[in-house]
């Protein structure tokens, strides 16, 4: 009886060690979301279409959630900070499932973050040429006044609240062109 228990113990112990080793191989670093800080500059500096998910692991450790997107992509979701007792999503990355290449990202600023203001954020994208579009009809009885800023060449978009004019999210995708000019410009298609 004692022998059987001992065998069970060693099997379970071995299994635990094995699983932990595997986890370390996939996610060598684990950072708690309470202490994690995903900086805009870090997400901005990633080379979309060239960098891989290894860079994310280096920076922020294992994601809090992985979602299969269905188009051969995985979404790595990172959470941080607390509103009362709730953690909120801070960034999410689209990753090609086979190659591990970064295809895109979303970074969500806090309202206290200077980058939640469009003027401050725009200064980070020197040379960008943003086309601004209204989010428009979002249900059969409501038209949103939220705005979407998009520079396709750079693969950067902002979602801006129409009421508060604060940035709700910044999205990166694989840029069409990788070189940049010097000054940002903002042209609304309706006023051009």
């Amino acid at each position: 009886m004692q022998q059987r228990c001992l065998v069970k113990f060693f099997v379970l112990f071995g299994l635990t060690i094995f699983l932990e080793t595997q986890a370390v191989v996939v996610f060598p670093k684990t950072i708690n979301y309470k202490t994690r800080k995903i900086k805009f500059e870090q997400v901005q500096a990633l080379d979309y279409g060239k960098d891989t998910n290894q860079k994310l692991i280096e920076y922020w450790g294992k994601p809090d959630q992985v979602v299969r997107s269905g188009n051969g992509e995985l979404e790595w979701i990172y959470r941080e900070r607390l509103i009362e007792t709730i953690s909120v999503e801070s960034a999410a990355f689209n990753i090609a499932e086979k190659s591990g290449l970064l295809n895109g990202a979303v970074w969500i600023p806090q309202d206290t973050d200077p980058l939640s203001k469009i003027v401050n954020l725009a200064a980070q994208f020197k040379g960008a040429h943003f086309i601004i579009k209204s989010e428009g009809q979002v249900s059969r009885d409501y038209d949103s006044d939220n705005l979407i800023y998009r520079d396709e060449d750079r693969g950067v978009s902002f979602l801006v609240s129409g009421q508060s004019k604060l940035i709700s999210a910044i999205v990166w995708s694989i840029p069409k062109k990788r070189e940049s000019t010097t000054k940002p410009s903002y042209n609304h298609p309706d006023t051009e």
Partner: protein, 255 residues
């Protein structure tokens, strides 16, 4: 002589008739009341869900709900500013419709009544969906013909439209909190644009998945008019609304 006295009688009668007309036009109501002229009123669903049958309303004085003062001035004419649905046509408010809208607003919770609305406009029908009772954009609400049909609870329609505006006016923190509790997330769409994607389930109505603002408006509507459904389907959201707006956030007597 006889002609002269006849003229005199005629003038007197005319003057008397004029005075009587003036008296009839004057609103004989006390302060805090308003005069309701005689009119035909179609059947409708009251805020509490009771079916009220059609009737000819006799002219009478009616107590003003306190909300009247704020809302009466918002019943606007013409097309809402920068209205997105091109080709929609305005119609005149009837007395009955104005009364109905003000009555429908009065039992709504104070939080809804305190929401800043720029104007309530009267349009014929929605270009998007002819059955739409109302629509909103940028602080303005359009009320369409179907809002006054016997199938619609106008209080519920108004609560829904005002809730859209509440969501628009949310602080950054409030919005983040709602998106978090309701399971909405921003994602990079295949086009590279930001897209807000819904949770997988837990909707009181399939239209909730359209957008966070529709989800919020529907959830507020159900919290007030069908709370058990919201509690069963989305208990977290029901709890969040209760925590945020408190015990007084419910349909009540006229405000």
């Amino acid at each position: 002589m006889a002609v002269k006295s006849c003229k005199c009688v005629l003038v007197s009668l005319f003057a008397l008739g004029f005075c009587l007309q003036l008296l009839a036009l004057a609103e004989p109501c006390q302060k805090g009341q308003h005069w309701v002229r005689a009119h035909y009123r179609k059947g409708y669903i009251r805020a509490d869900g009771v079916n009220v049958s059609a009737t000819s309303v006799v002219a009478h004085c009616q107590d003003n709900p306190p909300s009247n003062q704020n809302w009466q001035v918002k019943l606007a004419t013409g097309l809402p500013h920068a209205w997105q649905q091109g080709g929609e046509r305005t119609v005149e408010w009837t007395l009955e419709q104005k009364e109905r809208v003000l009555d429908a607003l009065s039992p709504l919770p104070q939080v809804l009544l305190n929401t800043a609305i720029e104007g309530i406009y009267r349009l014929k029908t929605s270009k998007i969906d002819v059955d739409n009772p109302a629509a909103g954009f940028n602080g303005q609400i359009a009320i369409y013909d179907p809002a006054f049909s016997t199938r619609q609870n106008l209080s519920r329609v108004m609560a829904h439209e005002i809730a859209h505006e509440m969501y628009r006016q949310f602080s950054f923190a409030d919005r983040t909190e709602y998106l978090n509790v309701a399971g909405w997330r921003v994602k990079e769409a295949p086009s590279g644009l930001p897209v807000i994607v819904p949770r997988l389930d837990g909707y009181v109505d399939e239209e909730c998945a359209d957008s966070p603002t529709e989800d919020f408006a529907k959830n507020i509507e159900y919290y007030l008019f069908d709370p058990s459904k919201l509690k069963n389907v989305s208990p977290d959201i029901s709890q969040w609304i209760h925590k945020k707006y408190g015990d007084k956030f419910k349909m009540g007597v006229a405000h």
